[in-house]
Amino acid sequence: MHMFNRSKSQKKPKPAYAGPVLYYNDLVIDHFSNPRNVGEMPDDESNGFGLVGDPSCGDQMKLWIKVESGRIDKVAFKSFGCPGAIATSSMLTALVERKTIEEALCVTDDDVIEALGGIPEKKKHCSLLGVKALRAAIADWQSRQTDDKGKSAGS
């Protein structure tokens, strides 16, 4: 049978994205394939940390921030989850980078979804994690400002 166009020399796969995949739009796929601000920030480089979700019952997200003079100077995340969770986390970090704490606290799930051009209805719950993790990280930063106990990971 010749059902499929298979080029004779199949080389190393590269993400040659062509057309809508699954039920995500191009921008979501882009943030999933090339997520912004992925990584961990060591303790001496960050001053706020948030951890939400539980990988034993679904998605999980960790988010670090470095706040300098009331502004999010750097943000980084790691995520165990579906494409929607990864893409919304990535977009959230892109949205809040360089924002003041007050501005960052105003960012909502809907803002993230809108910035991505929409995500499927059934995937909207995934976007909750990012905003929750950010708020937890900001709360952690704030508590470190008021008392100098150091680490208290929000949840």
Binding site: M1, M3, F4, N5, R6, Q10, K12, P13, K14, P15, A16, Y17, V21, L22, Y24, I29, F32, S33, P35, V38, L51, P55, S56, C57, G58, D59, Q60, M61, K62, F77, K78, S79, F80, G81, C82, P83, A85, I86, K122, H125
Partner: protein
């Protein structure tokens, strides 16, 4: 495109399509009509029935055409439950059934039947002693799938049939994922009722068979005219029936050789995955499986993310079953096999088929290596 999702559906075999075309074009008569034009369609349906009976080793009058594997399962469960209501109301099934059986069982529970969901062991297999212990004096039906759609694990259906026939209980098996993949003929499994579907064996969608052994107590679910021996009313899908007959002939003829070819490819895939990616688990590997199916858990990452990343590379695989991809719950099959939720969430299913070649497997493995590495770099779950 590399298509490794043949447990979801298969391409229509060109010979099946060719057999169907006349019944979509010029021979569009109704098999129930009292004229020669209708009779031509009737003859096509009855020839197909005989051909399928030959392929699956049963009598032509034991074949009931339905619209889907799901409908065949519904007819088996609801039909037997209704026919035997006066004799009892206990049904035995398993925790790993396809939703067509699982959700129909739940519906029957809400209608007053009692249903026992048997567990499986870590290899995904139902234990015969547990089945025997579950049978009660009012058990009217046992329904246990032949091959699992997610893992490919095959249940010892002949031994199960020996047990149920000894106890005088009707046995149904959902053979949608095994028919044509294993050399065993559905009519010889020992079950009283067997479901299988056209589009899983390179036939058309919208057609399936419920094999009903002679003298099995069963009532219709869809009522109307006297089609299909009074068991399934509705004008026959003539072209699809003809296409299914052709596809089934081919599938059973080549099941032995094609099975060997696919098993070698599947083994190659699993060998390469295990040797080139750390922290993986082949689910159901120790059990007998249909030769085309591989279910793999990758530690610390999400199955749907793997599916999307491979899709971007032009490779079609699946998480669990196609019907539940929008359902965020982890696979009930893998959970029943004792995997934890995270292992189940990190699983994908690759199901090979007739177009699959060695180079497709190698290409897929190299894409998987890159994908898993990338997703693990993103993952918040520590990977040591």
């Amino acid at each position: 495109m590399i298509y490794l999702d043949h447990n979801a559906t298969t391409p229509l075999h060109p010979r099946a399509l060719a057999a169907m075309l006349p019944y979509l074009r010029e021979r569009w008569g109704n098999p129930s009509s009292p004229h020669r034009f209708g009779n031509e369609a009737k003859a096509a349906v009855e020839n197909a029935r005989e051909s399928i009976a030959g392929s699956i080793h049963c009598k032509p009058n034991e074949i009931v055409f339905c619209s889907s594997g799901t409908e065949a399962d519904n007819l088996a469960l609801r039909g037997v439950a209704r026919a035997l209501r006066s004799r009892g109301n206990h049904i035995v099934t398993t925790a790993i059934e396809h939703h067509a059986v699982l959700n129909t069982s739940k519906t029957l529970e809400s209608e007053g039947y009692r249903v026992t969901y048997l567990p499986v062991n870590r290899d995904g297999i139902v234990q015969l002693d547990a089945l025997e212990a579950s049978l009660e004096s009012d058990t009217i039906l046992v329904t246990i799938m032949h091959a699992n759609n997610e893992t490919g694990v095959v249940q010892p259906i002949e031994e199960i049939a020996a047990l149920t026939s000894r106890q005088g209980v009707v046995l149904h098996t959902d053979a949608v994922q095994s028919a044509g993949k294993l050399p065993q003929r559905p009519g010889e499994l020992g079950a009283d009722l067997v479901s299988f579907s056209g589009h899983k064996l390179y036939g058309p969608k919208g057609i399936a068979v419920l094999y009903v052994r002679e003298d099995t107590p069963i009532s219709p679910v869809i009522t109307g005219g006297e089609h299909e021996h009074g068991l399934r009313a509705g004008t026959e899908n003539v072209a699809a029936i003809v296409g299914l007959a052709e596809a089934a002939t081919i599938a059973f003829e080549m099941s032995e050789t094609e099975g060997q070819r696919l098993r070698a490819l599947r083994d190659r895939l699993e060998r390469q995955v295990v040797s080139s990616i750390e922290r993986v688990k082949i689910n159901g590997a120790r059990a007998e499986r249909v030769p085309n199916t591989s279910n793999v858990s990758f530690y610390g990452i999400d199955g749907e993310s793997i599916v999307l990343a491979l899709d971007v590379c032009g490779i079609c695989v699946s998480t669990g079953s196609a019907c539940s991809t929008e359902n965020p719950e982890p696979s009930h099959v893998l959970i029943a096999m004792g995997l934890d939720a995270q292992e189940a969430q990190g699983s994908i299913r690759m199901s090979l088929g007739r177009e699959t070649r060695e180079q497709d497997i190698d290409f897929t493995v190299s894409a998987l290596v890159d994908t898993v590495e990338r997703l693990r770099r993103i993952s918040s779950v520590r990977n040591e």
